[in-house]
């Protein structure tokens, strides 16, 4: 499907990935217009229901991204989120949903080029 333009929703943490994406913008780097970024206070706030809502609203792919372990602004939000994702991914797979549609990642504030390339890889 050469014409397929996936809709991608990025659930990102305010303190790292969002700052990285912001830096991408202010550095005038280009990233795919198919990505809609939604900012959260912490990956610990990214409830699995939000991901399901994104799929129900027509998202083809989801990026969930937060701070590296030990870099969490609230010290442990990303650790709790990691546990939730492990279980959630297993359940999605059990229900026959392709877990490749949800991409989890850790990004630092310095990761702007990685963020751009990740978005490019999806598109």
């Amino acid at each position: 499907m050469p014409d397929f333009e996936p809709k991608i929703v990025a659930f990102v943490c305010n303190w790292c990935t969002y700052a990285g994406a912001d830096l991408t913008g202010t550095s005038r780097m280009k990233y795919s217009p198919q990505v809609s970024i939604i900012r959260f206070p912490c990956t610990g706030r990214i409830d699995f229901m939000l991901l399901l809502k994104a799929f129900a609203s027509g998202a083809d792919g989801i990026i969930v991204s937060g701070c590296h372990p030990n870099d969490c602004h609230y010290s442990s939000g990303n650790f709790h989120a990691r546990r939730r994702w492990i279980i959630f991914r297993g359940l999605l797979d059990f229900l026959g949903i392709d877990v490749r549609r949800v991409q989890f990642s850790w990004y630092g504030r310095w990761g702007r080029s990685r963020a751009t390339s990740a978005c490019a890889a999806w598109a």
Binding site: F79, H80, R83, L91, F94, G96, Q103, F104, A118
Partner: protein, 266 residues
């Protein structure tokens, strides 16, 4: 059965407890929950292979709490439920009496420590048959699994009997009733069935004691126990955790280890 009736009569006569929650004969040969408040009622009590319901579900109902201190006829799953409720600060030690049937006899367990000892003596791993059923799913293709669950969930009426029957689904405000935003669409329609069933399973991750009451309550026979057992198996293999074994324990999903696996995170 006689030991059970005798014990119930004795407890109610001595006013050690105000209510005995047990099984009585229901219609069609089934068992139903009975709430006995007078010694004379104790003769109604039964305990046999039809007594499957997890009676610990009533411990969280305000109508039952109002009755006073309860004695509860407790299957192994109900005992684990009590410990899990204790771990979640929902029941206090010495606030109830568990009556565990052991063969023809009855073992009264008054403290969490006694329940813990009783529970620890038994095996609570998923049975070989349960493991084999999960293995069958793992061997299926992704598309086959998706079709299976699409068919199962298409029958869901959103009656939430699974929620009402579950002793650990005790929130007084549920996401289901939340309408700003409307997480789960209200009509009995396919829309939202996946969301509801994923949410129910996820909220029980690391908490479910595998009593199977959700599946028994489901009026359209969705095998909800499969979702629970999948999560029990994952929580046990990845986090080495098991619910309902100790009155003071952390829920697997509200704690973490710095070295939890993250091979899927790029």
């Amino acid at each position: 059965m006689n030991a059970l009736r005798e014990k119930a009569r004795e407890l109610l006569a001595a006013k050690t407890v105000q209510v005995v929650i047990g099984y009585g004969r229901g219609s069609g040969g089934s068992a139903r929950a009975v709430f006995m408040r007078a010694p004379a009622q104790a003769a109604e009590l039964i305990f046999d292979a039809t007594c499957l319901q997890n009676l610990a579900v009533y411990l969280m109902k305000p109508e039952v709490r109002k009755l006073g201190k309860a004695a509860l006829v407790a299957t192994p799953a109900a005992l684990r439920t009590i410990l899990q409720l204790a771990a979640e600060n929902q029941v206090a030690d010495n606030s109830l009496l568990a009556l565990a049937p052991v063969g023809e006899d009855i073992m009264p367990l008054a403290t969490f420590a006694a329940i813990e000892a009783h529970v620890a003596a038994a095996d609570h791993d998923l049975s070989a048959a349960e493991g084999a059923e999960l293995g069958k799913f793992a061997a299926m293709g992704l598309e086959e699994r998706r079709r299976f669950w699409e068919e199962q969930f298409s029958r869901c009426l959103k009656c939430y009997a699974c929620r009402a029957a579950c002793p650990l689904c005790y929130c007084t405000r549920c996401t289901v009733e939340c309408n700003q935003p409307q997480w789960i669409p209200v009509p009995a329609h396919d829309l939202g069935n996946l969301e509801w069933n994923v949410m129910r399973a996820m909220h029980l991750a690391g908490r479910c004691v595998n009593c199977g009451d959700c599946s028994r309550a489901c009026p359209v026979g969705i095998p909800l126990y499969l979702l629970n057992q999948k999560l029990i198996s994952d929580v046990s293999s990845v986090f080495q955790a098991r619910s309902g074994m100790a009155a003071r324990s952390d829920n697997a999903m509200s704690t973490f280890k710095p070295n939890d696996p993250e091979d899927f995170i790029r």
